[in-house]
Symmetry: C3
Subunit: 157 residues, 3 copies
């Protein structure tokens, strides 16, 4: 029996998102059933780059406009320097043949990693299901805990 793995992705920083998907992909490659729960800023990783926001209260539009849309727009948790740090990091990764985040996400999906968006955070931040990439599941804290208590490895990133 393969060990289960869960990762809460709370952070929406490029470097932490990379770490989360590298661990998730490694675990899936080793035969583990992996679930990633995206909550708070982590939801930004799952946003489509060009989704129409639809009709929303102005405060939710503001939230939506202030937060990065998708993996290409994320900043670093340290030394971001207005996006320059993130660009340096991507440049260095390309040079070393490390897969960029969108490709790591694609690999995760191909390997059957389950991506779950936290419905409560979506509600508070005013993010609609249609603004997220396809193939995402939706759930709350009970969904998470149900999986975590069955898993061997549980991380909060």
């Amino acid at each position: 029996m393969a060990d289960k793995t869960t990762i809460i992705v709370f952070s929406g920083d490029l470097d932490k998102a990379m770490a989360a998907f590298i661990i998730a992909n490694g675990a899936a490659a080793m035969g583990s059933e992996v679930t990633m729960f995206f909550t708070f800023w982590g939801l930004n990783i799952l946003r489509k780059a060009h989704a129409a926001p639809g009709k929303k209260p102005w405060m939710e539009r503001l939230f939506g406009a202030m937060m990065p849309k998708g993996p290409e727009r994320l900043g670093l948790s340290k030394m971001n320097m207005g996006g320059l740090g993130a660009r340096m990091m991507k440049w260095a990764m390309r040079r070393k043949n490390v897969s960029p985040l969108p490709q790591l996400m694609e690999m995760a999906r191909e390997q059957g990693v389950k991506l779950v968006a936290c419905t409560m955070s979506m509600d508070v931040l005013g993010i609609r299901p249609e603004e997220l990439i396809d193939g995402v599941d939706f759930g709350g804290v009970a969904t998470y805990l149900g999986e975590a208590y069955e898993a061997k490895l549980n991380l909060f990133i």
Copy 2:
């Protein structure tokens, strides 16, 4: 037998504190015995809003004055914008009927979640037991590890 859960609350950010208490409350509701360990900035979540600091060396008074006192004063880990972000978040939560942090803390205590303050951090930051809310336990890393090795789910937030 219900699974045990431990959460180290290192962060003193509003958003991370919310995540910690939502997970703790969810786990307790599912019958898990939950212990939260508050260390470093996480201790600020447990501070009373109006505790008299008492007699302290000036450096400890300075630390105490610089750090937020209790759940109402915490900022966001991202987009805090001098407190505006935290206010926006609270406004959005109220609108969506999500319990604010002080109420989540109250729920945790009603459900028997154990709150443990890290004595070493308290000592370093100069925080006295009487400055923390009532009903908090005190312990060190050995207390934490004793619980963590018996728990099924251990998170560091």
Copy 3:
């Protein structure tokens, strides 16, 4: 049988590094086999203060120059104030007889805590093995997962 423990040290902040080594030392003292994986900014904790960078592309030299070299140069995750916060914290720790980070690291090594540097992060950030302190092991995500699935306590800091 003692329980195994793994800690991913992603953060290169002084306060989080302290928390990681205090937990690691406590676990080792309780008989646990402990492995710490240093990745991304966490690698800075393992850097020698005065290693010659050697011949490197200019971008890697730049990365290397911008990031702190070793435990004495780290900043706080909050209230760092250009290094003043870190100095206040060290001052407070000395006053309370809490071991400073370099000493915590020394204790960890004496207790047999295994320190593993993430080779992929080293490659991306352009950090060479000879720039890290002696006695460090090297590994990737598979090394980490192999240990984590056997451990009782797994944290991401």
